[in-house]
């Protein structure tokens, strides 16, 4: 064990020079400056030295200590700038974590719902097995009307069918509640369409209805505009074209500016810059009368869009069957 101040100093000096990393330096620090360290012991010896040598010894020890602290600090900073403690290959993947997902249709559905919830719409629900009355008659689609050809229907029994749209929920809501009504409904619908790239017998709709005093066609345009901005982005615009749906009058087909090309024209929008999304219009007088509303006081609008269609346009999906194939290669993309 070094006993003289010079010996201690040169020993520490050698030790620090030899240190390969910060830990080595810290170990030396503990050895010399720690509670049981060499220098600490030396400091304790000061009181035991004879009176005449005490002052000089004390000064020497203190100088040594100051030098040691500084030398250690300097060596630490040298080492930290030149060496790394770790050398990890971060191109290796991390530990596998759960990769579950909501279905893309669920994601779109919830997105649509949240846009309308934020505008103060209620989200209503209704049965999938529906009575012919709610699905057709109450919506101004009498038996033997050609409009029934638009919606080839699955029947379970005479008068009982699988809803062909979410519109019967409108009727159920209006029969249950008095205006003001502000609702949407999302849900599964059924049409007897042969399966191809744009048809599945099962599909999802979002339906909206607003009834109150003084609700106008201009309000319909305003709400649809907010809706498409919320779902497709702030620069999306909406355009209405005359069309026919038995439960609205005037009825309109709703198109949005193509979110893929921004309206310049691309294969998705067939170079028109517009994409048809679904129907809308002012609720037909016959429908309002059927639910017992006074048409001289109340009026309003309704719309019905396909969730699959929204998802297809938003994500560039070409084949509607993919939604129901549940291929993980598909589902895991969203």
């Amino acid at each position: 064990m070094p006993s003289t101040i010079d010996e201690i100093r040169s020993a520490l000096e050698a030790r620090l020079t030899a240190a390969r990393d910060a830990q080595d330096v810290r170990n030396a620090q503990i050895e010399y400056l720690g509670k049981k360290g060499t220098l600490t012991a030396l400091l304790k010896q000061i009181s035991t030295v004879s009176q005449d040598q005490r002052k000089q010894f004390g000064e020497q020890v203190n100088v040594l200590k100051q030098w040691a602290v500084q030398a250690i600090e300097q060596r630490l900073s040298e080492l930290s700038s030149t060496t790394r403690r770790y050398d990890i290959d971060f191109s290796l993947p991390g530990q596998l974590m759960p990769t579950g997902r909501k279905h893309i249709l669920t994601q779109v559905e919830e997105e649509v719902e949240s846009v309308f919830l934020s505008m103060g719409f209620d989200i209503e629900d209704g049965p999938e097995i529906e009575q012919e009355y709610f699905n057709f008659e109450a919506l101004n689609i009498p038996a033997d009307h050609p409009a029934r050809d638009m919606q080839d229907t699955f029947y379970l029994a005479p008068g009982t069918l699988l809803r062909t749209h979410t519109s019967p929920i409108q009727v159920r809501t209006m029969k249950r509640e008095k205006p003001p009504i502000r609702m949407i409904a999302t849900g599964r619908c059924y049409r007897r369409d042969a399966v191809d790239a744009s048809h599945t017998p099962v599909f999802t709709q979002v339906e909206g209805l607003v009834i109150d005093k003084g609700i106008t066609f201009a309000d319909l345009k305003g709400v649809l505009q907010e809706f498409v901005r919320g779902v497709f982005g702030p620069s999306t615009t909406v355009k209405l074209l005359p069309s026919f749906f038995p439960f609205v009058e005037p009825g309109a087909e709703t198109a949005i500016s193509c979110p893929i090309c921004g309206g310049k024209g691309c294969p998705t929008c067939k170079n028109s810059g517009w994409i048809e999304m679904g129907g809308s219009g002012m609720v037909h007088q016959n429908v309002l009368q059927e639910v017992g509303y006074d048409t001289s006081i109340y009026q309003g609008f309704a719309f019905g869009w396909g969730i699959e269609r929204i998802a297809m346009i938003k994500y560039g999906i070409r084949d509607i069957r993919m939604f129901y194939d549940n291929d993980l290669d598909f589902l895991s993309q969203f």
Partner: protein, 809 residues
């Protein structure tokens, strides 16, 4: 409906390009679904008359044909076709010319004979096969009498053209004809020029008087119910000779996209296509007592329709009858017995207006879809067409069937009653549209469409033209205002609605939460179709599911009573594509039928099979197992704050001994277990699958509200024990003993180990529990915890004969 541009140009002048026309019609609500332009792809094809046809001297299969090419002289060609006779008018492509498929034609020697050209069939000319008759498509094309010999083929046949597929909504029956489309083009023109609609711009003859007749034949028309048939006109034509239509008529049909059949049928089809008025031809001599009675059918009445099918008529079906029996289903299809044949010389043409609903009912009930029924269902024009069409048809008959004459015009329900006018209020219109239109604006907009309006103050009295059967109530006029002004011209603003919070049902919120939780655990959400095969449902041992009366396919004839079928299908699809595992869930409706009443409930299915966790360098692969599934269920129920118990369960879908019923209090939440191998096999799954199904409605009922509980802030102490017990003792029983005997300081217990076999005696198993103790008010001492563990050990020994294998602190 298909129509060609040339037919529209022949009817009204306009200078829109085909693309512009499509856009402009779309803007007023008439959708052109597709458009196809056909150009003339052949060259040097001429119309020729066959002056001589004889067998080729040496080539057995060839004919030698001499042709007259009019001003172009004559030519001789060889042909393998067998349908060429002297006097025929045929197309020939001469040397230097080219067929539609690009074949260059040169003079060619066949034996000693030079063939200077080639006779053409429809294919060499690139004609539309859909618009040709069977005869026209057989061998060399024959041009009818009247084709100009020596002219270029493209002058004799309208080859270069654009065809449109018009697809209208059910209220636009008025656009389903050349006249109808021309009227809409006139509307577009009127709007563009800011002029009122002028029917005079349309070049089709629109006479308003019935045709003159010689009045020498007997024909009586009676309508029994004017609400089902407002007008009926029978035109009796005598001395008719049947045969094919003339060349000029034939090419007109080609432009109208009508396939020729025979002269008489072609004429009725022309009226339908050009005027939107279905007409029918009866053989006058097959109408008993020469009477036509429009009535509803009587019970038991039948008819053999034109297609040869004997049909029992539903009583009340609107029919055309002679003195004794129905001869046609009104507006749908004629009867076979009274139909026109090659020997017919006296024809009665029917021009009528039937109630759309009545025709729709018959058409649907009989399952017959015809062009006539399609038009009638969508509403025909009771005014113009019923008055104009009889005259037009009569003129056509006289022109096409030389020597024939109009013998009698018998009618009922003429003149057509005038449509009543309707009152419309300006304030109401603006209040409906959110607009600021004046009376003059609206008058102008109505004018474009030929709607007459008189204004008194702010009230309009409006009368629609007879072809606008869709205009019956004031909102429909509002729609016309929007249509003419342009939907985009109307203001758009956010509605002034009361500020309030939107809400959704607790069930909907729960479904969202379930999907979020399960996706977070690592499951992928599937969405499968709701249809299943009843055979499979029954084979799985489930009660029969609700059956569809009209399934799309046999495999999808019932509504799913369980989620397992769809999820297994999704699993199968992924596994068959090389995936090693599938872990998925679906929420949605499942269906059942009880006493003929259908029920639906919201269900959650979870299916695991194959690998649960993939492997990489940090992570070992993990197979799905019944305890992976149970863990998922526990985690989900924990998230919902539902306390639950499990009990052994025997059901059709899950393996006995490997399935449990999960319940909360007295409410059954669902079942969980290993999918029965038979069920897996039935659904095509070869590997073990683990399946759970919950009633989301039951989960909703069992959710409890959360209230804060005080928890210990002092360090806890752990003690592990492992006991050896009979294999029949369940972990749950041991857990219960531990809980009962360790007092209130026990904070949690974990089963850290459970095994049998190996060094253990037969029939025994070892279960290890890790117990955590804590006090709410102090730091526990090891010694006092040891005392509690001692109680537990004693209880385990006395209650289930548990032998302590080890205790660890």
């Amino acid at each position: 409906m298909r129509i060609k541009l040339s037919a529209l140009h022949a009817t009204i002048d306009f200078d829109y390009t085909p693309e512009e026309l499509v856009t402009k019609l779309g803007d007023v609500g008439i959708e052109i679904e597709s458009m196809e332009t056909t150009s003339v792809r052949f060259s040097d094809v001429f119309v020729a008359r066959v002056t001589h046809a004889a067998p080729h001297p040496t080539h057995q299969k060839l004919q030698l044909v001499d042709l007259d090419l009019g001003p172009r002289g004559t030519a001789s060609v060889c042909t393998a076709a067998t349908n060429v006779l002297e006097g025929d008018i045929v197309p020939v492509v001469v040397p230097g010319g080219r067929t539609a498929d690009g074949m260059e034609i040169a003079a060619r020697m066949f034996g000693a004979v030079e063939s200077s050209g080639m006779l053409c069939s429809w294919k060499e000319l690139g004609l539309d096969g859909d618009l040709l008759s069977a005869e026209e498509k057989e061998g060399i094309l024959h041009l009818g009498a009247g084709a100009v010999v020596g002219s270029l083929f493209e002058q004799a046949w309208p080859v270069g053209d654009t065809s449109f597929e018009v697809s209208v909504t059910p209220d636009r029956g008025d656009a389903l004809s050349v006249l109808g489309l021309a009227r809409w083009i006139e509307v577009l023109k009127a709007r563009q020029a800011n002029q009122p609609f002028d029917i005079g711009d349309i070049k089709l003859p629109l006479p308003s008087a019935l045709p003159h007749a010689r009045n020498d034949g007997e024909l009586m028309v009676t309508i029994e119910d004017r609400s089902l048939c407002s007008s009926y006109i029978g035109v009796l034509v005598q001395d008719v000779v049947s045969g094919p239509s003339s060349h000029a008529f034939r090419t007109q049909l080609y432009q109208l996209c009508v396939r020729p059949v025979s002269r008489i049928v072609d004429m009725t089809n022309l009226c339908l296509k050009q005027y939107g008025q279905p007409t029918h031809a009866f053989d006058y001599d097959r109408l008993l007592e020469h009477r036509i009675i429009v009535r509803t059918s009587l019970p038991g009445e039948t008819i053999v329709t034109l297609d040869g099918v004997l049909r029992l008529l539903e009583p009340g079906t609107l029919v055309i009858a002679d003195a004794t029996a129905p001869v046609a289903v009104a507006g749908v299809m004629g009867g076979l017995a009274s139909s026109v044949t090659a020997t017919t010389t006296r024809v009665v043409f029917e021009i009528a207006h039937f109630d759309p609903r009545a025709v729709a009912r018959s058409s649907r009930h009989l399952g017959i879809k015809t062009d006539a029924a399609y038009l009638y269902e969508r509403g025909t024009d009771p005014g113009l067409t019923v008055s104009a069409v009889p005259s037009v048809l009569s003129a056509l008959v006289r022109e096409q069937c030389l020597g024939s004459y109009i013998s009698r015009v018998a009618s009922a329900g003429i003149p057509v009653p005038v449509r009543p006018s309707l009152s419309l209020d300006l304030v109401r219109v603006n209040g409906y549209l959110g607009s600021d239109l004046g009376t003059e604006d609206i008058r102008r907009l109505f004018g474009y469409e030929g709607i007459t309006s008189r204004v008194t103050g702010t009230t309009f009295s409006v009368t629609p033209p007879s072809f606008r059967g869709d205009l019956t109530a004031w909102p429909e006029y509002v729609e016309e205002i929007v249509r003419m002004e342009g939907f985009d011209e109307f203001p758009s603003h956010a509605p002034r609605l009361l500020l309030r919070r939107g809400s959704e049902s607790p069930l909907k919120t729960l479904c969202k939460r379930l999907r979020q939780t399960l996706a977070g655990i690592g499951l992928v959400e599937s969405r499968t179709v709701s249809f299943v095969h009843q055979e499979v449902v029954v084979a799985m041992g489930l009660p029969p599911a609700p059956l569809l009366l009209n399934p799309l396919t046999e495999d999808w004839d019932a509504l799913r009573p369980t989620m397992v079928v769809g999820l297994a299908g999704a699993a199968l699809r992924n596994l068959s594509r090389g995936r090693e595992g599938f872990a998925s869930f679906e929420t949605g409706k499942t269906f059942s039928v009880r006493d003929r009443s259908f029920e639906e409930e919201t269900s959650l299915g979870i299916l695991l099979t194959g690998k649960w966790q993939d492997t990489n360098w940090t992570t070992p692969a993990l197979s799905s197992s019944i305890f992976v599934l149970k863990g998922i269920a526990e985690s989900m129920l924990h998230d919902l704050h539902i306390s639950f118990a499990v009990a052994p369960f025997d059901g059709p879908l899950l393996e006995p001994g490997a399935s449990v019923l999960i319940s909360s209090g007295t409410t059954s939440l669902g079942t969980l277990g290993i999918l029965r191998h038979e069920v897996g096999t039935l659904l095509g799954l070869e590997r073990d699958a683990f399946y759970a199904e919950f009633s989301v409605d039951a989960l909703l009922k069992s959710m409890s509200t959360v209230t804060f509980k005080e928890f210990s802030k002092f360090p806890s102490i752990r003690r592990d024990i492992a006991v050896l017990v009979d294999s029949s003792v369940t972990a749950g029983e041991l857990q219960a003993i531990i809980t009962e005997n360790s007092g209130p300081l026990l904070k949690a217990t974990v089963v850290f180990d459970s095994f049998q076999g190996g060094s253990l005696p037969a029939g025994k198993k070892s279960v290890g529990f890790s117990m955590e103790f804590a006090s709410p008010d102090r730091t526990l001492l090891g010694e006092e915890v040891d005392v509690l563990v001692g109680f537990v050990e004693t209880a385990l020994a006395s209650r289930v004969g548990g032998i302590l294998r080890r205790t660890r602190s």
